[in-house]
Amino acid sequence: MTSFAVPSHAIVAPGDLDYPDFVAGRSAVVRLPETFPVRVGAPLPEDVCPPHANAELIMPRGVALALEACDRLEYDPDAHYGLVLALPTLRAEPEFVERSLDAVGDPSGLIPVRSFFGEAPLAEVAEHLGVDGPRVRVDTACASGSDALIFAHQWLEAGAVEDVIVVASTAMLNPLGVAGFNNLGTLSRDDDLRASRPFDLARNGFVMGEGAAGMWLSSRSHTSAPGYLSGYGQSMNATHMTGVPEDIGVMLRACRSALARVPNPGKDLAYISAHGTATRANDAAEIRVYRELLGEDRAGVAISSLKSMIGHCLGASSLIEACVCLDILINGQATPTINLEVPEPNSGLDFVPNKAKEVSGDFVLSNAFGFGGHNSSLLFSRGQF
């Protein structure tokens, strides 16, 4: 598998937090208005992508966040790019739902929300970036960001294009989107700003966030590239739409595929970005995965969940986390898992509780385990590998 350079990356994270905030253990979790069915969430500040009224054409918030990530990403405007957009469904955005209900019997009412349909979101982002190469839109739920990077890697490996911009976005932090997940029983219903507690014994569901990220992946030589995408693995659970498998073998297979060229993961890995949603089932399964993956060396690898600080940004989460993995590789500071007071007993794993930690090593692993059973692992390296 070829290593491809990551010349630049950018995030639009809840609270507009960035890597230094994560190292400091800051949280973006705030109380939500009473229109929401749960008490806490991790939104963007109001001045980032404020809604703007345009009766003629309503831009989906998911697209607006994607464009914000594009604006923050440094890239060579003269290069010939492909685009992989990780943007899960936009059909839970309130403007779309309300207007669609109004349009029953009067389809002309759908005209202002035509940008929610079909290829329009992908075309919008491609035009904004000036992309003139191939373009696709990926949706593998919470693994979308990682899988978009994998698709970009495959394009580069096939020689289809030399540069790809990967953008991931999610905007379901609205009463309808939150209700969907809440009624499935996956959200924390705590009225507590520390409700996002990955790997804590008292965890009881995830806190929803929103955001976006962008990453430029290139097969050309970039001597100053801060990191490289050097491996990946994917698998499907084949068990349940929202659950995790009893047999963790399929999750392990994704991690091991990503690590295939790393001689001794327990010693060579600087850090693992866990999916770490803070649901009981996910975190329990991940603990089993990491114990098996790292074996006797498990205490020496820093593992943390960014979701403790920014909640779960669904389709954008794994690309945001991939960006932070690169920052960790560059700066040698693993971000903490905050709100981790009583860890699961006897895991033998270092979840970097509440305080950042210095790490060394040439590799970081970023994991995502999405609804629908999509398992996706990414390996980043400091140099070409």
Binding site: T35, S100, L110, P134, D139, L184, M236, T242, G372
Partner: protein, 263 residues
């Protein structure tokens, strides 16, 4: 290029002589809204006629999964001011069926076929892209680790939420729903399919009229977002076309192409 070993399809409208092909059937889908979206049901129906190794690499290209908005209507009806986002929203949203969310997720086709057929190999789900068929082919050709690749296209666009907008863009269109599956393997003998013979994408975008239908399919064929790449291959199989380059358009000025070669 990828070697086509087997195919199947479940479609709601006939596609000319394609209906004479083995494993291509007309289906009528009874709404089973609490359990499974139509796009998933079509994919399961079509795939049930193929033998797929459980470690096969899977790519799904998913269009609209089915209707979703109707799940919100009872919640709006209970609003004092008749607006969905009106008063007492949090309380009214308790009535949203948990499956309502799952049925609007656009990775449900890949999830459903994985669960039903025990598929645990690598999986990629591309959505809302007629052109994605060709853009995915070059990545599939690079899948040396996985000898067998399953490509599934599924779409349920003939629903009120989608139908009228599609007709705004393509006024004379008749929509077809369904799923088309292709199994590619090194010993496939039906034909070769690839972005180009060299494995590179041929997708040099050309500015096209956004209202222009792709030119590759026979006139009068129904329109199906996300299915048209598969429909082209079915047409080539049914018509005995020896070789042809097919073009796909996204309706926003972007085109891709792929090559077909009969074996």
């Amino acid at each position: 290029m990828l070697r086509l070993a087997a195919f199947s399809a479940a479609l709601t409208r006939p596609l000319g002589t394609c209906m004479d092909l083995p494993n291509v059937t007309l289906v009528e889908y009874e709404d089973d809204e609490q359990r499974r979206a139509p796009a998933s049901a079509y994919a399961l129906d079509a795939l049930s006629r193929l033998e797929v190794p459980t470690d096969a690499r899977v790519v799904t290209i998913s269009g609209p999964p089915g209707k979703f908005i109707h799940h919100m209507e009872p919640i709006r009806q209970r609003s004092p001011d008749g607006r969905l986002m009106g008063p007492k929203l949090a309380r009214r949203l308790r009535r949203l069926h948990p499956y309502g969310l799952l049925l609007c997720l656009q990775n449900q086709v890949s999830a459903a076929i994985s669960m039903e057929f025990g598929l645990t190999g690598p999986c990629m789900n591309l959505i809302e892209g007629t052109t994605a068929f060709a853009d995915a082919l070059c990545t599939l050709e690079g899948g040396k680790d996985h000898e067998t690749t399953l490509l599934v296209m599924s779409s349920a666009a003939d629903r009120p939420e989608q139908r009228e907008l599609t007709k705004l863009k393509f006024p004379d269109s008749v929509l077809v729903e369904g799923a088309i599956c292709f199994l590619f393997s090194p010993d496939g003998e039906m034909g070769l399919v690839g972005a180009t013979a060299s494995g590179r994408a041929t997708s040099e975008p050309k500015k096209t009229n956004p209202k222009e239908r792709p030119a590759s399919l026979p006139p009068g064929w129904p329109h199906a977002p996300c299915l048209e790449g598969g429909m082209c291959v079915l047409w080539a199989l049914a018509s005995g076309i020896p070789s042809k380059r097919f073009w796909l358009s996204d309706g926003h000025g972007y085109q891709t192409s792929f090559d077909w070669q009969k074996l």
